[in-house]
């Protein structure tokens, strides 16, 4: 076997992949070339449908019955995978090339123990006896830092948490120490602090074994943190490739450039540097334009040239980086320096009177335990404290973000506000009325209309059998905004204008819309009753980067116009940093810290906020972060720690006091509250997690391209 450093582990040349459907041949990946050296990590970035997963499946030679490799070669250590027999492939899979999947739960067999599923890898590939395989599996499980590996071996996949499942999948992939690891969005399904741990683990282990990796992700920040080189894909083609430093500092392709304009950076906020969405949408594979696929969405499009014929990759010269290549005819002509990287600067919004006041709100659920032990002990009812002592205000026109990981109680909180649940105790005052005990059925239409919600998954919240016009019109009629048919119609059309959808969408049904368009309809519906407050529950997390940017901007714009209070529920701190005026950080049903966005993002921090900030991947190579990786998993809400909820994972734990006593709420400034035992003076001494260089220290501002050769 060739093991020298000069020979690539994987070499893909001029690969074309197609799917064959009734509509004919659909090219999925076009003209794809890639070399992976030993120990190197390659990133594949792109939005959904760009063909990045198809590439991974082609490397695995697992294309399904309707997919096929049309031309080109995929050489692994000098042997062409396309020409291998099934048996030869089988010996490579899992042994030399292995894969880590996006959804760990789906990737594990539900009816076999984790031990069985791990042990069969070395048994199959190395023909070692079962006890030896068992020892190997246990060793690997402890290498991926799973506590109590013996217990995990005997468990079924559903008995361990999501983060642990992903560690099992990683252990499975690494068991036979492969030379090449394919990672298909390995952390997308995980919480952000868990993600940080997994990312570090993968990096450590690959370094240890010298494994090459292909890392597929839609998250530019994550790619920056993990990869050496990156390939940006758009509509089946690589549009730009280069080393991380070169590509992230000097993106050449208008699409890459556009992507950076779509992601909120910790340097940006909504007023000073609004996001700049890419207009239009990804063309369907069989509707790709002539010439440059990105042409119809590109600001630098030149008719007759860009749409003339297929464009080849060309090397970027003069940047110093040798392997920076781009698929654009005009890359030398475009001067991004003259372009504003972000949208129009807007004055900050004025906030008005208090619209929402929440005082010591609690929501407990009763769980009935029917086991014999519980019956004997007489404890059949357990209380789950989904929300504990929630306290904050929101003013007119303000955006308040509620941040936290899964199980932190943010959705329960939204349910209480909407009246889907009633609070156990406490006061929730909306426009002066206490609504904490009024279920949605008892609220009058005006109240319901003035408090609306935008949901996470737009596809599930629109009725598939009604037209868009009908759905919005119904809301207008229900809330008594208008009663006359013609006037309702008029208003629906106006709302469609507001959310920037063409008026003929009135007659469309949800299935005829894309994800982003559906979410626009969802927003139009929420704003139909002129609400004074809108709760947005992860409204863009299911959408692609460029679409999410457009929807976020839209939401901001409507809010600005209507002076609506926006309660933005999210787990994504970069989005929150971008659009929120104030932030509430929640953990296991309790507020850990709250304050203005400025206050949350700079010290003093709550230790949990600190960890959250450190976990956010930032797609800016000039920003540095202090690394804090949390150990352990989120505790179950059913069984929270007695003292501070964060005590089990806190890197700054003081000692027994944290375990036994509820942390006091300390006021760091007016409106900035931190619930922690550590004295404020101590917390103030902690330095900032994210370090953003001053504007005049930036490579771009410093000027010449020569300085960009940082790699």
């Amino acid at each position: 076997m060739a093991d020298s450093r000069d020979e690539p582990v994987l070499e893909i040349k001029d690969l074309n992949l197609s799917y064959y459907t009734r509509a004919g041949e659909i090219p999925a990946v076009i003209d794809f070339s890639l070399e992976v050296m030993k120990g190197e990590t390659i990133g594949l970035v792109g939005e959904s449908g760009c063909g990045k997963s198809t590439v991974a499946m082609a490397i695995m030679q697992y294309m399904g019955s309707n997919g096929g490799i049309k031309s080109g070669s995929i050489k692994f250590k000098g042997r062409d995978l396309n020409k291998m027999s099934d048996e030869e492939l089988r010996r490579l899979r899992g042994a030399e090339i292995s894969m880590i999947y996006q959804e760990p739960f789906a990737a594990l067999n539900p009816s076999l123990t984790i031990g069985t599923q791990l042990m069969e890898v070395p048994i199959t590939h190395e023909h070692i006896p079962e006890p030896a395989a068992y020892d190997r599996a246990v060793q690997m499980l402890s290498d991926v830092k799973l506590p109590d590996p013996e217990r995990v071996m005997a468990a079924y996949p559903h008995q361990v948490s999501g983060g642990q499942q992903q560690r099992v999948v990683i252990a499975m992939a690494l068991l036979s120490q492969p030379s090449l690891l394919l990672l298909d969005e390995p952390t997308t399904a995980l919480d952000v602090t868990v993600e940080a741990g997994i990312v570090k683990l993968i990096a450590d282990i690959s370094r240890k074994y010298g494994t090459s990796q292909i890392y597929i992700s839609h998250n530019l920040g994550l790619i920056l943190e993990t990869c050496d080189r990156v390939f940006v894909m758009y509509s089946g083609e690589v549009v730009e490739e280069g080393t991380i430093n070169s590509l992230f500092t000097w993106p050449k392709h208008p699409y890459t450039h556009g992507l950076f304009g779509c992601i909120p950076l910790p340097t940006a906020d909504k007023n000073a540097a609004p996001l700049k969405p890419i207009r239009g949408q990804l063309p369907l594979p069989h509707e790709r334009p002539r010439g440059c696929n990105f042409g119809p969405r590109c600001d630098f499009f030149e008719g007759g040239r860009c749409d003339d014929k297929n464009i080849a990759m060309t090397s970027v010269t003069g940047s110093g980086a040798t392997d920076h290549r781009v698929r654009c005819l005009r890359w030398q002509e475009i001067d991004y320096g003259k372009q504003v990287a972000h949208g129009e600067v807007k004055p900050p919004m004025e906030v008005g009177e208090k619209v929402l006041e929440i005082n010591n709100m609690q929501k407990y659920y009763e769980i009935h335990d029917r086991s014999i032990a519980a019956l004997i002990a007489g404890k059949t009812v357990k209380l789950v404290k989904a929300n504990e002592a929630i306290d904050f205000d929101a003013r007119r026109g303000e955006t308040v973000a509620i941040v936290g990981e899964s199980g932190c109680g943010k959705s329960t909180f939204a349910k209480v506000l909407m009246g889907l649940e009633t609070a156990t105790s406490g006061v929730v005052r909306h426009e002066g009325n206490d609504i904490s005990q009024i279920a949605v059925r008892q609220r009058d239409t005006k109240q319901i209309g003035s408090l609306q919600m935008v949901f996470q998954s737009p596809s599930d919240t629109l009725n598939p059998s009604h037209t868009v016009g009908n759905q919005i019109g119904r809301v207008i009629k229900k809330f008594g905004v208008e009663s006359d048919k013609a006037k309702i119609r008029e208003r629906v059309l106006k709302l469609l204008d507001v959310v920037k959808l063409p008026r003929d969408f009135y007659f469309r049904r949800p299935r005829q819309l894309s994800g982003g368009q559906k979410q626009r309809v969802g927003i139009a519906r929420a704003f139909a009753g002129n609400p004074s407050m809108v709760i947005a529950d992860e409204p863009v997390s299911a959408l692609d980067v460029s679409v999410a940017a457009a929807v976020t901007e839209l939401l901001m714009e409507i809010q600005r116009e209507h002076k609506t209070t926006l309660l933005f529920i999210s787990h994504d701190l970069s989005v929150v940093r971008y659009l929120a005026d104030s932030i509430v950080v929640m953990y296991l049903g309790q507020i850990m810290e709250r304050g203005s966005t400025e206050e949350i993002f700079s010290p003093p921090y709550h230790p949990y906020t600190e960890a959250l900030l450190s976990a956010v991947p930032i797609a800016d190579p000039e920003v540095t972060k202090r690394e804090i990786v949390l150990e352990g998993n989120l505790p179950s809400v059913m069984n929270p720690p007695a003292g501070c909820p964060f005590v089990t994972r806190c890197p700054r734990k003081l000692g027994k006091v944290c375990e036994d006593e509820r942390p006091p709420v300390q006021m760091a400034a007016d409106g900035h509250a931190i619930a922690c035992h550590i004295p404020l003076e101590e917390l103030r001494k902690i330095e900032s997690v994210i370090k953003v260089p001053q504007l005049d220290e930036r490579i771009h501002v410093k000027g010449t391209k020569e300085t960009a050769t940082v790699d």
Partner: protein, 313 residues
């Protein structure tokens, strides 16, 4: 697990008590069935005194609830009453007939389960292949032919055409396996398609799951992917269906047993209801309910065994 089984047993007993009440109210009171019970039992050609005597003898002059408990007591202790049609205790007739049907059912299942599972798995393993399409189409055709039609068709072919098999299965001269072939064939033909298609659907679904992809991309031999990773998950749905088939068989045999004059439970049920043989009818109904509830319980327990997500929740 033990609690689960106990709970199920309790539920089973409760179901049977409720069914017995409904049965009693329907058959032995005048609530739904107008007319005198004694007339119904003895027929129209007896005198008023005879009817009164019968009523007194069988306790029909007692209040209804008392009669119910008396009847229930008899039932529980194994006294199923006496059949009018067969002029003897129900016990003497019922169990022999049930045994005959059990023999018939045994052979149907002994052939149907392996055949339909194997065909279903082969079809589901490679969805859309020629083998899959052949199996799917065949099973749709066989399932859509009703039993009474296939009885006639098979009889025409094997009895009158090829003259290979006897046309009746009365077993007049003792047990004869040859006479069992046609009834088994008819029931098998009707039932196997249903189970095979269920298995196919389940298998095809499992084959598209991500954990099968994981297993393949782990480099496991194809045989192990199927046997170890796919089968167990794919068999959960068909298992429940097969258990329900036992239930179906109990009523499904009526046509077949009648057609081939096979002396089984189905034919007995038919005879009992045609002759207003109330005691026999009650016994048959209770047996049928018992089988239904019992198989359901076994299905539930087996399901939890096959599916660890339920077992350890």
């Amino acid at each position: 697990m033990l609690i689960f089984i106990l709970k199920r047993l309790g539920f089973m007993a409760l179901t049977m008590v409720i069914v017995s009440m409904v049965l009693f109210i329907l058959l032995e009171t005048n609530l739904f069935y107008k007319g005198d019970v004694a007339t119904r039992v003895l027929g129209p050609y007896v005198s008023a005194e005879q009817r009164e005597m019968w009523r007194e003898q069988h306790g029909y002059n007692e209040p209804t609830y008392k009669r119910y408990f008396l009847w229930l007591g008899h039932f529980v202790t194994g006294d199923l009453g006496s059949s009018l049609r067969f002029k003897g205790p129900v016990n003497d007739i019922l169990w022999g007939r049930l045994w005959n049907t059990a023999i018939l059912g045994f052979w149907v299942f002994a052939i149907m389960i392996p055949v339909s599972l194997i065909l279903g798995i082969l079809a589901g393993m490679r969805e859309g292949s020629k083998l899959d399409r052949t199996i799917s189409v065949t099973s749709i055709i066989t399932t859509s032919v009703p039993e009474f039609a296939s009885c006639v068709i098979f009889a025409a072919i094997f009895v009158f055409g090829l003259k290979l098999l006897p046309g009746t299965s009365g077993m007049a001269d003792g047990f004869d396996f040859k006479q069992l072939i046609l009834p088994v064939l008819v029931l098998f033909t009707y039932d196997f398609g249903y189970v095979a298609r269920m298995t196919r659907a389940s298998m095809a679904e499992v084959m598209t799951t991500q954990y099968i992809r994981t297993a393949v991309l782990k480099g496991l031999p194809y045989k192990r992917v199927i046997m170890r990773h796919a089968l167990r998950n794919a068999l959960i749905a068909p298992f429940t269906v097969i258990m329900l088939q036992i239930n179906w068989l109990l009523s499904g045999v009526i046509v077949v047993e009648f057609f081939f004059a096979y002396k089984g439970f189905g034919a007995l049920l038919l005879e009992a209801s045609l002759n207003q043989d109330i005691a026999l009818l009650e016994a048959c109904a209770m047996v049928a309910v018992f089988v239904a509830v019992g198989t359901q319980m076994i299905a539930d327990i087996g399901y939890t065994y096959l599916n660890p997500r339920i077992r350890f929740s």
